[in-house]
Structures are given as C-alpha cells and as structure tokens.
C-alpha cells in the first residue's frame, strides 16, 4: 500500500481518469461509422498505466476488457519503449499474437508521454463488422482455423508520430468486405485516442510527479476493497461444470471448474475441461480473463472500479489445448457466445459459496450474419446481428427476459434501421414464451426474431450455444429451453438447422426464425 497517497487524492484522480475514459467513448461513438458501434455500442475505451495495468475503463462491453489488456501487453512485448514516439498508435486483433479475443475486435492503443517518458496508454476497441475470412462478418462457429476467420493483426504500428501508415492501412482495408466503413471506424478510433491523450497529459500536468504514485495507490485501494468482498465468502473448494455445443450436432464439450477461495484470493482452475474444438467455439485466454473478471465483480461487488487492482486478487489455471485455453491456430470467432456458458460455470461455482445470491444458468445470445447483394443500391451488404437470450433467476428475483448476459453487452439493431439498410423484412420480434425455466422464480425468456429475405442471393451464417445443452436451474429450479434456428417455420418445407452453419442459402421470400435459449429457474415450482 502506498502510504504516501491518501484516500482522497486517490479517489479524486480516479474520478478524473474515469471522466477521460467517458470522453474517449463519447468521441468514439460520435465519430464511428458502422451501426455495430453506433447503434449497438459494440466498443469500449480504457486507460492503462505505464506498466500496462488497466486503471480506468468506460463500460460498454465487458468482454472487451480482456482484449485491451492483452493488446497493451502485446505492444510492450514487441516494441522497445525507446522506439515508441509521441503520436504513435498501435493496432492489434490477434488472439494468439496481439492479445485479442477474436479478430473483428480491433484494438487501437496509444502511448501518453509526459516529460519525455511514457506514463500511460490509452486504448479503445471497436467491433468491426467484417475483417475478411471465409464468412461475411468474420465470425462463424463453422470456421476450422483462425486463418478462416479473417485478417490477423499482431501488435503493429499503424500511426507513426501522428502520420497514418497508409500502406498498412490499405492492407487492412483490402481484407474487409466493407472497406469504407472500416476506414471510417478506424478514423473514429484514432480520434478517441487523441482525445484521451490530451486529457491524460493535462491530468499529469495538474498532479505532477505524484500522479503515478497516486494511480498506483488507487489500484491498491481497489484491491483492498475486493479482498474485503472475497473475505465475506467462506474459504473452500467449489466445483462446477457446464457444456458448450460440440463439433457435431448433438455433441457437447465440457468446461470444468474448480474454484478455490483462500485468504482473500480466488483461484479458478479449469483442469479437466474438454480439448479444444475444431469449430470456432473456443475461448482464447483474454476472453477467459475478461469473463472471470466480469462474473466475479457481478457476483461479489458490482460497484468495484474495473481496474487491475481487483484483477490481481484472482488467479487462473487452464491447461493449454483445452476449450478455455486453445492453441494457435484454433478458431475462436464465436467466443462471446461460448463465454456465456463459461460465465454460467463460474457463477455456478460461486453460487455454492454464496447460495443466498445464487445465479441460475442463462441463455447466451445467438449470432446471425446476413450477406449478399442489395439490389436497391447495387452494393454488397453484410449485416451482423446478435440476438439476446434469457437470463438466469436468483433467489431474490426471476430471470430478466431478453438480455445479453455475463461478459457480452451490445445492443440490438432497430427494425426500422435494419430494413432501411438491408434487403430483409422482419416478420416477428417477440419474447419466446415458455422458454424460461419453470420454478419458484422463473428463468428469463429468450427471443424469437424472424427475417424474410427480400432479394435474391442472400446467405446467412448461424452460430449458437445452448442448442444442445440447456441453461440449468439453481436451487431445484427447471432448465431453460434450448435455442433453435428454423428455416421456413410453419411451412411444409420447415427445416431445423444446426447450431453452427455457414452460408445457408436464403432464397427470396424464405423466412428464417431465430429462437434463443431461455434462462434457468431458481427453486422448485410452488405448485404444478
């Protein structure tokens, strides 16, 4: 504990940093191009100290947290600090070489200099709706290798002393099906970091030499706060398991967890989990970190500041080559759906330690990507949408209907914006009745969303979890319904599709129905 810094200065500086991360987010959202970022807010911003520890984050999507940590680490590994100049910015997205969690999330990181040395980094992350690869949207459970998922970017210098490296940028743009949008979104990411750099510099000007010690003290205060939260649950070993949908229809893949709570620390051991899958359901390291940090915070102390101070109270053990620690080049594109199931496994273990605040399993979102020619304006379109499932119940309340769960958090796309932008028409968008588990407190309902193809040549790629294994109830509550993808529901040619499929033809006038899984219930139903 840094005794030289008091609890007041630390809080004041922390509020400053948080304001800066919010300013960066405002700049990013205002200037970005794609609906993904603007309408769905699939982006995040953060500030790191010189050692690469997160010190402040504007919450948009929790899973981004892990990705940004990884990117700053990757830059520090690849570049000699002496070689980094003011005005430089770095890009990275690769889960194995750039600290990313999947390829569409491109991190842009910039150093902040004060009196000639790096004192901090600012970073932001935006979900780009296409970075190449075998499927439009660059994200499909059917990919068998990360090389099929799109352009891999290790930590590279994209801006040198304020000047964009055009050659490198052209490579990134050419590898996307929607290069104009990428250009606009990258510009927005630069603008966000510029805003952050100016404000962090001003903060150091104001607080001078003691700024870094104050920030370090703030992390110490945060750690102490989270240790206090951990010490409220009994020391012990808590074991849980849950399952991803496997490589083939009907298969499943185990996530095994042994949580050890001891002396204000938590150790999450995933030994015994299934080997990595050939399909893109694997969870890369940084996504594992982000999910653990998110669920632990939600369960123990929702208001603890999201920074490295509390991350340090947790340790992760995951053998290489398993579903939660895959090796290059295992595909990982759909990690955010898998992280929903992983989050349930973590919550289930913690629920044993704190039964009065137990959380039942949840239905993770499903992913659907439409692509094809839009005859209305002679363009090729890619529309990436995630559709929420239902959340698990707790002893104190039923599950929330139709929400993104655990580490995921992007918003949906309005129907009226969708139909303006792409040649599809929504036939139905509704709560999926009966999908929440039955119990004393029912599980949250999933969603039904049905699209009609309004043009020729449209194809759809589908990715899901919990189509083979339902979200379990807690305390004796019933499980939620599994998810389904149905082609032409109610018609003679009705077909149930698999939980992961690429490039399914959607002839003009055909309908695809997305039915997302419900959450588990809490407690036995009072009466039948």
């Amino acid at each position: 504990m840094s005794n030289t810094v008091d609890a007041i200065t630390a809080e004041v500086v922390a509020r400053h940093l948080y304001t800066i991360s919010e300013e960066m987010a405002a700049a990013l959202i205002r200037t970005s191009f794609s609906p993904n970022i603007k309408e769905r807010a699939d982006c995040s911003t953060a500030i790191f100290d010189a050692a690469g520890r997160v010190i402040a984050q504007a919450h948009r999507v929790p899973v981004h947290l892990g990705s940004m940590i990884g990117a700053v680490d990757a830059i520090k590994q690849r570049f000699d600090e002496a070689d980094i100049r003011p005005g430089d910015m770095f890009a990275a997205n690769d889960p194995y070489n750039g600290g990313g969690t999947h390829l569409p999330d491109i991190n842009i990181v910039a150093p902040v200099f004060w009196r000639g040395k790096i004192v901090a980094y600012v970073a932001n992350i935006a979900h780009h709706s296409d970075v190449g690869g075998m499927v439009p949207g660059s994200e499909a459970a059917v990919c068998r290798s990360i090389f099929q998922e799109g352009l891999r970017i290790p930590a590279v210098r994209l801006v040198r002393e304020g000047k964009i490296n055009r050659d490198l940028q052209e490579i990134i743009l050419l590898n996307s099906r929607t290069p104009d949008e990428r250009r606009g979104d990258l510009n927005a990411q630069f603008a966000s970091n510029f805003a952050g750099i100016r404000s962090v510099e001003a903060l150091f000007e104001r607080y001078g030499e003691k700024t870094e010690a104050t920030i370090a003290a703030f992390l110490d205060f945060t750690r102490a706060r989270f240790e206090a939260a951990i010490s409220k649950i009994p020391n012990g070993v808590y074991v849980s398991e849950d399952f991803l949908d496997g490589d083939n229809e009907g298969e499943k893949a185990r996530i095994a967890l042994k949580l050890t709570v001891q002396d204000k620390r938590m150790v999450f051991d995933f030994t015994g989990s299934a080997p990595q899958l050939t399909w893109a359901r694997n969870i890369p390291h940084q996504a594992l970190v982000a999910t653990i940090c998110t669920v632990a915070k939600s369960m123990l102390d929702p208001d603890v500041p999201a920074n490295a101070g509390y991350f340090d109270t947790m340790e992760i053990i995951a053998p290489r080559g398993c579903v939660v620690q895959p090796c290059d080049p295992a595909p990982v594109g759909c990690r955010s759906i898998s992280c929903g199931v992983l989050g349930d496994a973590i919550a289930a273990a913690m629920s044993q330690a704190m039964p009065e605040k137990a959380l039942a399993g949840s239905g993770p979102h499903h992913l659907v990507v439409f692509s094809g020619p839009d005859p209305r304006n002679d363009t090729y379109f890619v529309n990436y949408e995630t559709i929420a499932g239902g959340m698990g119940a707790r002893p104190s309340r039923p599950g929330i209907d139709a929400v993104r769960v655990h580490a995921s958090g992007a918003a949906n796309l309005p129907i009226e914006a969708l139909e303006h932008s792409y040649p599809v028409r929504l036939e139905r968008y509704a709560l999926r009745d009966g999908s929440g588990g039955v119990g004393e407190k029912r599980g949250g309902h999933g969603v039904i969303r049905e699209y009609r193809a309004m043009a020729d040549g449209i194809r759809v790629s589908l990715s899901a979890e919990r189509q083979h294994v339902p979200a379990l109830g807690a305390g004796g509550g019933g499980a939620g319904a599994v998810g389904e993808f149905i082609l032409n529901p109610g018609k003679p040619n009705e077909t149930r599709l698999g939980s992961a499929m690429a490039d399914v033809d959607l002839p003009r006038d055909s309908v695809i129905s997305i039915r997302t899984p419900g959450g588990g219930a809490y407690g036995k139903a009072v009466s039948k």
Partner: protein, 686 residues
C-alpha cells in the same frame, strides 16, 4: 392594466414564486411548502399569498407561468394511468425487448423497467408498412375496434398506437386513432407518429406509450389547476413550461405531457440565458446544484443547446429538450468509506429528511453540506436569513465518526476531501457536456444557482480551468424567474431517410410541407399570431452508413443549389467535429426539424433594492474559513444585499444571502455589476 406577471416553480420541498410588476419593475419573492399529494393546492395558496404581499388583485395578473414536476414524478413513482397499446402484428413485445442490454452490466439485480402498457394490454392488429412507406399489409380496422373494446374492458384509460415505419406513412396510425375514438370517445389516444415522427421503433414506441400513460394524469392535474386559477379571478389561462424552454397552453401539455419532463430545470436555464444576454456574457455553463442532484447546461450566445433523447425512468423518451446533464450529487449527498478504505460521496442522499447532520433534523451521516459547515463556508448559526438554525457541532460529530475515525485522518482533511471529491464529479459533468458538443469549457463562464451552486462554483471552475464565475442575484430563485422569460415554442420533426441528391427533392419538400402544416395547426391552437412566428429549419445529416447525425439550418425553399450548399456545410462540420471528411461518400438526410418560436415581451431586469452604501457596512462578521492552499484563514463575511453596486473585493471572502452562500477563494477578485450580479475572476493557481 394587467401588469402583474407571476412565475411558479414547484420543487421537491418548496414551491418558489416570483411576481413582477412590469410597470414599476418591482419584484416580490415568496416560498411556500410544496403539497406533494396535489401540487396545485400549494401553488394556488402561494398565488393568493404573493398577490396579497404585493397588494395586487387577481384581475391584475397578465401572465402566469408554471414549471411542473408532475410528469417526472408520475414516471419515477410509476403513478401513471393504466395504458393499452395497439401495435403491428408480430411486434407487441418491442416495448419489453428494449435494446436487449442489461440495465447495469455488473449489478445483476437491476431489472428492466416495467413499461406503462403491460403485456396483456398490448394488442396486435394486422397491418404493415415497409421501410419506404409502401403499404405491405392493409390495416384491419375491425381488429382495431375489437382491440379497443378489449382494452376498455381491461380497465385501461389511455391507448398508444404504435405501428412500424409510421414516420414514413402515418396513414395507418391515423386511421387506427380515428377508429379508437369512434369506438371509445372518452379514451385518451396517442399515435406514435403524432408525438415523434422519427425512425427507431423502440424509442418511438416508448415515447408514445409513456406519453399516453401520462395524458389522463396531466389532464386531471391541469383541470384542478386551471379551475383554481379561474376561481381566484385570474383572467387568462396559465402557461406551462416545457423541457424545450418554451411555455405553452395547458392544452398543448395535455396532448404531450412528455414535453414537460425537464420543465423546472429548463426554467433555470432560460433564466440563466436571459441574464447572460443582459450582462453580455456569451458563453455560459450553468451549474444548478440542489440537495440531491445537479444540472449542468451549456449556453452559447444566449442559446442553450437542444437534444432529442433523454432517459426517464429507464425509458428513452425522445422529445426536444434543452441539453441539460444531470448528476446524482448535491448538498445532501452522503460521504462514506468503501470496503477498500477509499472515501466516496453519493449516490445516496440524506434528502430533505433526515437531511444533513448540521440541520438538526435527525440526520447523522456526513453530507456535503456538513463538510461545508465544518470548513466554515456556511454560516455557523443560521441559514435562510436567520429562519433556520444550524448545528455545526453535529456536522463535526458526523464527519469524525464516519470518516475520521475509520481512516485515521483529521477533521479538516476529511471535510476538505469530501468537497474535493464532489467537485471533481461536477468537473466531470461540465467536461463531458462540453466535449460532447465539441466545445472547450475553459472559454466559458460558470453560472451557479440552486441553493448549493455558489458554494462550490469557484472550486469547480478552477478544477475545469474556467476563468470566471457569474453568480446571479437570486440563485435560489432563478428557475422561477426564468419562467417569466420563456417564449412560446413548438418543435416538430419527421424522418426522411433519403440520399441528399436532387432526386430526393420531392420527398423532402413533402416532409417540409407536412411540418409547416403541423406548425400552423399548433400556432392556431396556441392562439398565436402567425406573422410573429420565427421558423427555424434544421436538417440532420450523416454519411451513408453512419449512425449519428450532424444538424444544420437550411432554407425552407429547398433547391438543388441549397442541397449542394448543405453538402458542403456537412463536409465542413464533419471535419470540424471529427477531424476528417469523406467527399466521395454519399450524404444521407435523416430528419427534418422545425422549431417555431413566438417571442414574448421580456420582463424588466430585477434591480437589487437600493444596494448598500459601502463595503464596510455590508460586513457581517469575520470567521475562520478553510480554503485549498491556505487551510483555515480569518475571512470576511458580507451580506450580499448590502454590498454597493460596482464594488470590488479580493478573495478570500464569503458572501451570504437568504437563498445561498457564495464562496470566493484566495487568488480571485470579485466584481459586482450595476444590477447586483457577482463576477468572480479566478487567477490561475498551481
């Protein structure tokens, strides 16, 4: 001569009234307790009392302007009318699906808000309009009638009609509205395209449903209020302040109660803007700090910025609103030590009851006001001109027990720390509203009002780097004064998602004509002179593929040349705001907007009665007051009313008045202008 104007602002604890005789320029101020069960009671009492105090008869009243929190309270407390919804087949759950995000990422126990129309009262009917306004499925009016009967049987009082793409073609909604009225003439009805003809269905449906649910509540309230005003003998109908800063007839508010959510704060901002214009201060950020929350708003050249979406009770209500940013911290915010031993301030507030410890009403937890008390910033004996005794010892006990002892720090550090933390929160709010609008707050003056604003303003301004603080004469009554300055104002908009090319001209002109007709109907209904109306046309544009818009004014007689000019303006604005332009990219029109304003006469400026003879005679006492950098120093305390016009003072000083206390730190100078405004010029200190 009906030369008496009255402004009434209803707050949580008190209703503030201000009366001006526009002939003599005399002002009378009055405060009565708010009557929460029916606010009109307290208001009517207040009107009678202030007329008696001023010795005028009700028949002398020429303007009665009212700021109301009725709609806001009804939403926050869920006291809206049972409401039904008739909607497009397949989409009744849009209201509940919302945007599929959790209300809080980390707090798993915060549920989505319960919509005013419950699921069984949301009925689907066959109809569908496409994105281009083409009718895909004709409206089944028999189904609308059947739905109406069912909603009536369910006990609904009000009906929202919410169809997809109704901004493009409102015909189905209009026919459905007529069918509901025909079937059930007493029902309150709101069609989504009437209240908000813009795209994004969840936001439009939520706005329409919340509006429908408030119509019966607002109608009954205004009925009581208007009857009361009439039976007092006041000849004209009252005016009600809207969130857009314009005051309108009770009937306009009956149709669109959602337009009044920020009625009270808007009064303060309009008051601030008018004072800024009078004092020739062109760039102002308002800082309205009360007991539980603080509102900030940026005003440029007398014009507060507008925005179109505000969250209300968890719903994204889209109405034109002055761009007021609210943070949940005020004088009553409670300071506490978190489990990591960090001091936090808020979000919990001691409110009016039990209140800060130093008020002696049973509060035992340390608040921001207690920190001000312990540091000598507030009068150590009484507040409100001697009407309210205070107990500094209780403030010290609360701080000692809850901050000093757990952390092992002294009282001075604890109390100054509480102020530092609350001020940095305020700084965040001021900076974020500035950055969002592409402005540098250091080129603005901070105008504090509300009971606690002037206590904190100089410190907040210094933290942000603002050079000047502008303290109006009656900071505690500025919202009520602002009501007297409100013009009549109506805002109208329509979505037209088309590329900005000559081929879109016909569709755009059609949209413009529709807005013009709506404005004309509104002027007629408001009994306003068409020839005095100022029409301001704005268009929201973006690059094709983007999802947020930039707005600029345009010439109503849209031509190809005007489109070309707008394109150039847009590229320039984009570059200015975001640092780049995309000359090759198609520009897309999103919304057309029309603001209609009919100016009202401005009331005479309030003059500080007399003003004192000399600075010396204004001195109340000398007491130790704490400031950053100096610690406790003996500081002169002056009575504001007794300070002469044009006086100058050097900080540190404290200036007390009935409704507030102004803190002037060291390294600053005070100027008092001819009408009694205080300006604090802050030197830069490290």
């Amino acid at each position: 001569m009906r030369n008496v104007w009255i402004g009434i602002d209803t707050g949580g604890t008190f209703t503030d009234l201000v009366l001006v005789d526009v002939k003599s320029g005399n002002y009378i101020f009055h405060k009565v307790p708010t009557t929460p069960e029916d606010a009109s009671k307290g208001i009517l009492t207040g009107i009678s009392e202030i007329l008696d105090l001023a010795r005028f008869a009700p028949a002398d009243v020429g303007l009665l302007s009212h700021g109301t929190t009725l709609a806001t309270n009804a939403v926050l407390e869920g006291k809206w009318a049972p409401t039904g919804m008739i909607t497009t087949e397949g989409f009744r759950d849009v209201l509940e699906l919302a945007r599929q995000r959790r209300p809080s990422f980390f707090n798993l126990d915060i549920p989505k808000p319960v919509p005013p129309a419950l699921r069984e009262a949301r009925i689907e009917v066959p109809e569908r309009v496409g994105y281009d306004g083409e009718i895909v499925t004709p409206l089944d009016t028999d189904a609308v009638r059947a739905a109406t009967r069912k909603l009536r049987d369910l006990g609904c009082e009000s009906v929202a009609i919410c169809f997809l793409h109704s901004y493009a073609t409102p015909e189905h909604e209009q026919r459905a509205r007529d069918a509901v009225k025909a079937e059930w003439p007493e029902a309150y009805v709101c069609a989504s395209s009437d209240i908000l003809a813009e795209f994004r269905e969840y936001e439009r449906f939520a706005t329409a449903t919340v509006n429908a649910s408030l119509m019966p509540v607002m109608d009954r309230y205004l009925q009581r209020f208007e009857n009361g005003v009439r039976s007092l003998g006041i000849p004209d109908e009252p005016r009600v302040m809207q969130s857009n800063g314009g005051a309108v007839s009770p009937d306009a508010v009956r149709r669109a109660p959602v337009n009044t959510f920020f009625s009270g704060p808007a009064g303060g901002v309009i008051g601030a803007a008018s004072l800024g214009v009078a004092a020739e201060v062109n760039r102002i950020i308002t800082f309205d700090m009360g007991g539980t929350s603080t509102d900030v708003c940026l005003i440029r050249d007398g014009n507060p910025n507008n925005q179109s979406v505000r969250e209300m009770g968890g719903f994204p209500v889209r109405t034109r609103t002055l761009d007021i940013h609210t943070i949940g911290a005020g004088g009553g915010s409670i300071a506490w030590v978190d489990p990591g031993r960090l001091i936090k301030v808020g979000p919990k507030s001691a409110g009016a009851r039990p209140g800060p410890a130093c008020y002696g009403r049973g509060g035992e937890l340390p608040t921001v006001s207690d920190a001000n008390m312990a540091l000598g910033r507030l009068n150590q004996k009484t507040l409100l001109d001697g009407r309210m005794p205070v107990y500094p010892e209780r403030a010290r006990v609360a701080l000692e027990k809850h901050l000093c002892q757990p952390l092992g720090i002294d009282l001075e550090r604890a109390a100054s720390g509480v102020l530092e933390i609350v001020n940095v929160n305020m700084m965040g709010a001021v900076r974020v509203i500035s950055v969002e609008q592409g402005e540098d707050p250091r080129t603005y003056a901070l105008m504090p009002f509300g009971g606690a604003g002037p206590l904190h303003a100089a410190d907040v301004a210094r933290t942000v780097g603002m050079p000047t603080v502008f303290v109006p004469q009656r900071p505690g009554l500025l919202s009520a004064i602002g009501l007297l300055h409100a013009d009549a104002r109506g805002d109208f908009s329509v979505t037209r998602l088309v590329p900005m090319v000559p081929g879109s001209l016909a569709g755009l002109k059609d949209g413009i004509e529709g807005l013009r007709e709506r404005a004309e109907d509104w002027l007629k209904a408001e009994k306003l002179d068409k020839d005095l109306a100022i029409h301001e046309w704005h268009v929201d544009m973006r690059y094709f593929g983007q999802n947020s818009e930039l707005s600029t004014s345009f010439n109503r007689n849209l031509t190809e040349a005007e489109l070309e000019r707008l394109a150039e303006v847009f590229h320039g604005m984009h570059e200015q705001n975001y640092g780049y332009r995309m000359p090759e990219q198609t520009i897309e029109v999103v919304n057309l907007r029309l603001t209609v304003i009919v100016r009202r006469p401005v009331p005479p400026a309030w003059k500080q009665s007399g003003g004192g003879e000399s600075i010396e005679k204004a001195l109340i006492e000398v007491r130790p007051v704490w400031f950053a950098g100096t610690g406790f120093v003996d500081t002169k305390v002056y009575r504001r009313e007794s300070l002469p016009a044009d006086a100058t003072l050097a900080g540190p000083v404290i200036i007390e008045q009935m409704d507030t206390t102004t803190v002037v730190p060291p390294h600053s100078k005070v100027r008092i202008d001819r009408i009694g405004n205080i300006f604090i010029d802050l030197e830069t200190v490290r």
